[in-house]
Amino acid sequence: MTAEARAVYERMHTSLQALKRYSVSVQSSQDEVLDYGYKLQHNSQATLDVQAPTHLRAQISGEAPRLIVYDGNTLTLASPEQGYYAQTPAPATLNQLVNGLIAHDVEMPLVDFLSQTRQAQFLAGVKRGVLVDSEQIDGQTCDHLAFREPTIDWQLWVSQGAQALPCKLVITTRYTLGDPQYQATMKWNTNPGFAADHFTFVAGKDAKRIPFTRDSVAPQQEPQP
């Protein structure tokens, strides 16, 4: 990995670490490879509101619209449209929460970048990384980084200027026939105002709490007492 690519990444890591309260709106697309090689593209929008280190609210649209709320004590996964929600006690910090979300296959845009302890070692498995260019994305000038790992490729655009934040992410799943891609562009608000109860989940009047499926309860690791 080149020094200039690493420098851009470090700059982003420093900026993310300094952010205590932010709101990101994400527009993403995800390829699905069907039989006979047809590549179908699914689009979705999401808003991530974060107040580090203990609050998160993610509203995700698309095929399975859902709400993810973390208040420092409890994690709620909800489908307001269907009137169901599931809850579990959650760890004390967002950094720990993110590990759990990933271990439980919970998909959320930008999940790679929410935990700064995770970010600190994120490049450890990367074989190659280069700074390609600087490019314009949504009116912003962003540094374009390209990474190669044994089975996946990913590209990241990081904004230039005072705050180095992710502009865009592309992930190519190389081990899957058809090399489907995921891509997301982000717009950051680094000074949002959140209502006092913004990170409190309130179930709808007729919403019902449901259990988790067996497989989404226990991932590989045993529960902590």
Binding site: Q82, Q96, E107, P180, K208
Partner: protein, 189 residues
Amino acid sequence: MTAQVPQLLGYLALSLLLIGAPLVEAARLGGHGAGGGVRAHSSVSHARAASQPRVQPNRNIQRPPVRRDNNVNINKNININDNRNYRHGDVDIDVDHHGWGWDEDVDIDVDHNGRGDWDIDVDVDHHHPVATAAIVTGSVLAIGSMINSLPPNCQQVYRHGNEYYYCNNQYYQAQWNNNSVVYVVVNNP
């Protein structure tokens, strides 16, 4: 030259047929996932985890019962090779899956990341790891099977304070599966 025209038309028809099938399928399944396709991963972490070699850890490890429900049978014989087909027949409907365990030191660049070590198969559709086969009226699903939406003509029933749906002589319970609600076939509550 002219002899090639029908041949060309034949190829065209064939390719339309081939391309048409999955499209029709996708359109029919609509709203809830096009069904069965292989998706790009939406995070580098998930992509890394899922691309790890398949390892079969012992899933019968004793678990401290962190859940409020004391009826959890922790020694149940889960088929570790079930490859996510969810058709093992020993699902206990009294299990109250209301909690997660938290692994607080996940190491992102080691092969032990989350569910990648389970039966992750690159063919798994992470959004909707659910049988998308059409539910034909009268067909019987194995206990533990999951579907995205209930068959028609279901009756809502309450047993022991829980809500179930009774459809075609089978009971279903709504449960949360990673990213969406699924209906799981359960034993008669």
